[in-house]
Symmetry: C2
Subunit: 211 residues, 2 copies
Amino acid sequence: MPGKTYDQYCGIAAALDRVGDRWTLLVLRELAFGQQRFTDLKAGLPGIATNLLTERLRALEADGLVEQRELPPPAARTVYALTHDGHRVLPVLRALSAFGQPFLGEPQEGRVRHQVAASALTTRFDAASARDACLTVLLELDGHDVVVGVDDGQLVRPGPGMREDVRVSGSAAAMMRWVRGSSLADVEGELEVSGTRAAVRTFEKVFDLSR
Amino acid sequence: MPGKTYDQYCGIAAALDRVGDRWTLLVLRELAFGQQRFTDLKAGLPGIATNLLTERLRALEADGLVEQRELPPPAARTVYALTHDGHRVLPVLRALSAFGQPFLGEPQEGRVRHQVAASALTTRFDAASARDACLTVLLELDGHDVVVGVDDGQLVRPGPGMREDVRVSGSAAAMMRWVRGSSLADVEGELEVSGTRAAVRTFEKVFDLSR
DNA sequence: CGGGATCCGTTACGATACTG
DNA sequence: CAGTATCGTAACGGATCCCG
């Protein structure tokens, strides 16, 4: 922490004691995209000092939210990943993302990370409309695949090997524009949405995108 | 901010640029309980320096999340309150509260703020089960009234003058214990729940309390 | 090159004293 | 009651260096 613990009997204070430090929630955001090497994290967090990144990772490990994993030689040795407990921050990240969206300006082509566009999409997930829905969506943004799943009305990170019901292809900026309120017609030519009519309908309902 | 803005095109980064500083989210928590005077805020945030509290309030005002209101003379002059925009942080506070609950120890009688117990309750709200539900709950915790409402499947802060469907009376610590997983039988004698059978059933369903 | 550790100037925070 | 002022300390930012 900077300073010290808030030391209050309150869930919010307890949460901030773990993840309230500068950079910590952004580190967790990076790990929410999947396991990352130290260097990947540094690249995704422009401006962070290496010693701070180290310290934040150690603190998150100590709290059981993040763990180091050793990978077989063919790849870089060690990666960081969210633990089972660590996945419980995802709703916090989603709420922050939703809160922060209105502060963002117009997305500029080529300056939107594909994971950020995907995260902006999940921001619009509406549990009430998703009742009992099951759906796998493959986003192909600037050539990168991101899978978003809805299972039994819950937003999930699906494992690989799922066959997608809906595929959305295009630039991350276009996806961002759609999510931010443009109608699909407005981003036509930039985004291609494919899948059965029913699946696409479910997709638009669950993420409140039918405009 | 400490340091400076993260300056990333990302909702989470933009959110943290506004509310990511130390104490800021706890200031917003206090205001989520209702409008507060400077001194009330200070009392609810043990350990904060007065200059920091001032600075945080000014920054939140500049971002349009908090506003100062002048009250008619009979009371203390000026209070701080969330603006319309500022109410959009409530889901962030709820997500943080839910994330932080498991880190809290057993509640001790007399050491739980009634608002914290109420906030812990809202943590358990399940939008999927609340579909179309309408309900007003009056919590009477340690003698303080807190109203929690569900309208059309959404969690709301109801205005005054609503007649309650369910009333829960007892200590904040007992409420906390119930919310944390005890069955109603376990807190029997400490909590009194009244209302029509149907209303109580809805209450328990919507907050997943039937154990 | 990936994964850090070290050092140092700058900034923010914490504590308390003081004022309209 | 509602802040402002001051000041020592801890945390951060940036760069550099180190090691396998």
